[in-house]
Amino acid sequence: MRYIISLTLVLAALWLAISGVYKPLILLLGVGSVALVVWLSLRMEVVGVEHNPVLFSWRLPLYWFWLVWQIVVANINVGRLILSPGRIHPRMLSVPVRHKTAVAKVAYANSVTLTPGTVSLLLNEDELTVHALDTRSARELEAGTMAERIAWLEGSATEQK
């Protein structure tokens, strides 16, 4: 029930933000579409299935700021490689994934893809196969800073590494 209410509230807020037209008829249509989506989600049995406390942590915005900074730095690196393509040094590598929850693993793989220079190819239970554009991107990933940040986000930073 908790998830149904929170899903309804999020959908309503999204609708209000995107619509911008607040006439009775349009609002009624909005209510109808929110109800339809909630009903469909219930039928698909996806409500609350992917619930994870990480999503509501104060650490998430901090992680995003850090990630945006990483994206900018990685973009400058890849941009320079594009302008002098002789310096690329593509390789495949595997890094261990020690996070416990599926959300953390996916967040890690997505963050790796989101920073240019590294693209995640395969994600297994405890290993992530990555294609790296140059040695620097590969080294940075192997250093494991991002994995640590995700572990911190997950709240298991104290766990043995």
């Binding site: 994206i71 973009n75 890849v78 594009i82 393509p85 390789r91 997505n110 190819l121 554009l133």
Partner: protein, 116 residues
């Protein structure tokens, strides 16, 4: 004065985003194989989108349009890596071998693929 500063910042962001888009496009043409080209496409879908959307948000000020721009940015940052990963994985499953630099310890399978 404040308007002037906002204009300068937002135009800087817009121009940087445009430049990132052009650089990503050049990379898409220049890089040798499918996987390296994914990295070039990554420049357009991260820095380019980020800078242009933030620049536009600064131009429009605090209103509903800005909220929409931020929502677009969030969705983009969630879906873009998923799409990139789906592409890369599909290529792997389909047997497109990545071109790998020779002086590497990783096992490299034979000839670099040409069907990119």
């Amino acid at each position: 004065m404040a308007d002037w500063i906002i204009d300068v910042v937002s135009w800087t962001l817009l121009l940087a985003g445009g430049a990132a888009g052009v650089i990503g496009g050049i990379g898409l043409l220049r890089f040798p194989d499918f996987y390296t080209r994914l990295h070039a496409a990554g420049v357009t879908e991260t820095l380019c989108a980020l800078a242009i959307l933030l620049g536009l948000a600064l131009q429009s000020g605090l209103n509903l349009a800005t909220v929409k721009l931020i929502i677009i940015l969030l969705f983009l940052l969630f879906t873009a890596p998923t799409a990139t990963h789906a592409l890369a994985r599909a290529a792997m499953v389909d047997g497109v071998e990545p071109e790998v630099a020779e002086d590497d310890s990783e096992p490299t399978p034979g000839e670099p693929s040409s069907n990119t």
